[in-house]
């Protein structure tokens, strides 16, 4: 799979040089994006102790970070991620593509942690990698997603 299949389609307008009054030719989002944004927003409705284990409400900073991330990777060829509340007020996004998986955890303090899984044999430690997206997290996250969909 090449990078070209992941061309952003969230916002495509005519080139500015044409005319500032040119009408927008089309404005479209990948089908999954709006649903994902709504699902992340809905996590804000969960009460304190939503899990029964004393977790706080899902923090607005975690929700905002997850929504920004989703908007930054709004590609047609990605599936809708599984969106979950996470203990501590965090938000989790889980993508799966064939035998590759990615989990992103958006913490209230701004950290974005990831778990990358390759293959079904979870007993092999090298099949899993855990880390934190510290530098330019959206770019780093995009690279992980490209890995997941098989782009080289």
């Amino acid at each position: 799979m090449s990078y070209s299949v992941l061309t952003p389609t969230l916002l495509q307008i005519e080139k500015p040089a044409q005319s500032q009054w040119s009408k927008v030719t089309f404005l479209s989002a990948a089908p999954w994006v709006l649903e994902a944004l709504d699902l992340i927003a809905a996590l804000g409705n969960l009460p304190a102790n939503w899990d029964g284990y004393g977790s706080p409400r899902i923090d607005i900073r975690a929700r905002d970070a997850a929504r920004r991330f989703v908007a930054s990777v709004a590609f047609q060829n990605l599936p809708l991620p599984q969106i979950s509340p996470v203990l501590g007020g965090s938000v989790g996004l889980h993508w799966r593509c064939g035998d590759r998986e990615l989990e992103f955890t958006f913490q209230p303090d701004g950290r974005i942690e990831f778990l990358r899984v390759l293959g079904a044999d979870l007993d092999r430690d090298e099949n899993m990698e855990q880390g934190t997206l510290s530098h330019e997290p959206q770019t780093a996250g995009l690279k992980l997603l490209l890995w997941m969909v098989g782009a080289r």
Binding site: L43, L46, W50, D51, G52, Y53, S55, Q82, I83, S84, P85, V86, L87, G88, G92, H94, R96, E103, T105, E113, L115, V117, L122, D123, D125, M128, Q130, G131
Partner: protein, 124 residues
């Protein structure tokens, strides 16, 4: 808090139940419902579970109305270098905690949560 010690009196074959919030359950490509790895994490490295033979499913479901119940064995948890020990809460003696062995890295804890999620079976 002093480190927890593994309770050797709890056999590996002992079945444990853990409540998993509905939003931490997904349907895999094969159609099977599975729990997310986040459902097997805890803030204090002490993950609550209950000895199935010492409690009632309905009782646990009533305590966690927005959740499903995931089932795994003590052996599953121990294979992933966890300690399982009793932790009675009030009059509930069936409560146990699953804790990583001392010194286990945060990365390994996360990976093992994913592994335990794959071993666990969600009850209907």
């Amino acid at each position: 808090m002093s480190p927890r010690e593994n309770d050797a009196n709890i056999a590996d074959a002992t079945v444990l139940w853990r409540a998993v919030h509905n939003l931490q359950v997904y349907r895999d490509d094969d159609g099977v419902e599975r729990a997310q790895s986040w459902a097997f994490e805890s803030r204090d490295n002490e993950m609550s579970a209950w000895v199935a033979a010492e409690t009632e499913l309905g009782k646990l479901q009533a305590k966690f109305p927005e959740s499903r119940i995931a089932e795994f064995t003590v052996g599953d948890a121990r294979e992933l270098r966890n300690i399982v020990t009793r932790d009675p809460v009030g009059d509930d003696d069936s409560h146990v905690v699953v804790c990583p062995v001392p010194g286990k890295s945060k990365a390994q804890v996360k990976k093992d949560a994913r592994r335990l999620a794959s071993k666990a079976r969600l009850l209907p």
